[in-house]
Symmetry: C2
Subunit: 209 residues, 2 copies
């Protein structure tokens, strides 16, 4: 296990020494196993996670449907938790570990406090909001103007890159949910991709070639 102080170096944020000390003092370092719920939908946020290694999936449930908001990669944090803790709201979204994930947990109290005291923290917060917005805008654009086949391939490639493995563990049904379509459509598209040597299909996972 890497010591906490090295973890802070590793994420490469927060250059103020005083802030680093505060993080050491007040934050925890937690390990989540695959499928662990990190933030539960509808609960008050007590800590905000900053991912050190691994990957979180953040999504909302609306009318029986799951909507993927974003993934949290190392050195990133969950925007929805951040925002919930500014207004003492319940979290409107759920965060689940897609693989084994280590995260620094920041108590909500310090999230707002540090924002006034440390510019690098404030910048981190603002940058998080802005980046997630831009990301969502990209998604919007691709939904509005790209066909599903292209979006499917992009999703697979992006997942492969995020988890640093060509084999994406997902069923056709789940993939359909993430992309807002139906299983049959996805199976059809994937079969075409396989014929074009773009992917290799297996039960429960897809290998991106």
């Amino acid at each position: 296990m890497i010591p906490f102080s090295d973890v802070i170096k590793r994420i490469g944020l927060f250059h103020e020494p005083r802030l680093r000390e505060e993080i050491l003092e007040h934050c925890g370092l937690q390990t989540f196993e695959k499928s662990d719920v990190v933030v539960r939908e509808g609960q008050f946020v007590k800590v905000v996670p900053i991912v050190v290694s691994g990957l979180l999936r953040v999504y909302q449930t609306r009318e029986e449907r799951e909507i993927l908001l974003y993934h949290v990669e190392p050195s990133q944090t969950c925007m929805m938790s951040l925002s919930a803790c500014f207004f003492n709201n319940k979290s409107p979204s759920q965060a689940v570990a897609k693989e084994k994930t280590e995260a620094i947990t920041v108590p909500t109290k310090y999230v707002t406090q540090w924002q006034k005291e440390y510019s690098s923290w404030n910048e981190f917060v603002i940058r998080t909001f802005r980046n997630r917005y831009d990301e969502l805008l990209d998604t919007l654009e691709s939904i509005a103007f790209e066909h599903i086949d292209k979006r499917t391939l992009e999703y697979l490639k992006s997942m492969a890159s995020k988890q640093q493995s060509k084999e994406v563990e997902i069923s056709h049904q789940q993939l359909a949910n993430e992309l807002g379509t139906t299983r049959v459509v996805i199976s059809r598209i994937l079969k075409h991709f396989e014929m074009d040597q773009l992917v290799k299909l297996h039960r429960g996972f897809i290998k991106v070639l």
Copy 2:
């Protein structure tokens, strides 16, 4: 013309008396005529506008296409300017007055400074980011799961409400651009709506019934 101090009362934000004084001291009050460019795409942001009356339209241009990001209504500000000024970026988007619009103009210098000093300012900033994100998420959902006819009607109703008038001044082509489709599709849908007594069509504007 209403005095500046009343304007600040009218927008109903910023309760700290000291902050109100600072706004009076350092910010301007500007009037934009219909079609005036408030923030130009690609330019450095010098002031961030807070709308007092009227309506701004904020959009991006990507590959020949305009993408509507959001409208800025009274008591709101432009998130993209806000974000650009945090990172001394050029504005990635353009803001244009849809009607005669009055706005408080906040020099970028104070945007970051006040964030540390006044919680109501900081809350305003964070709330702006969060609200725009939620808005975009709603748009995303409706693009992903609603048919164009429903989205068209919702757009018209929402515009009618924002400008407090049943008559929405927009051509079919512009409407198609806003919704990411083509003119023919919009004309077809609108004609159906007219037959269903939902709207009344005119050259250059549409009356929502």
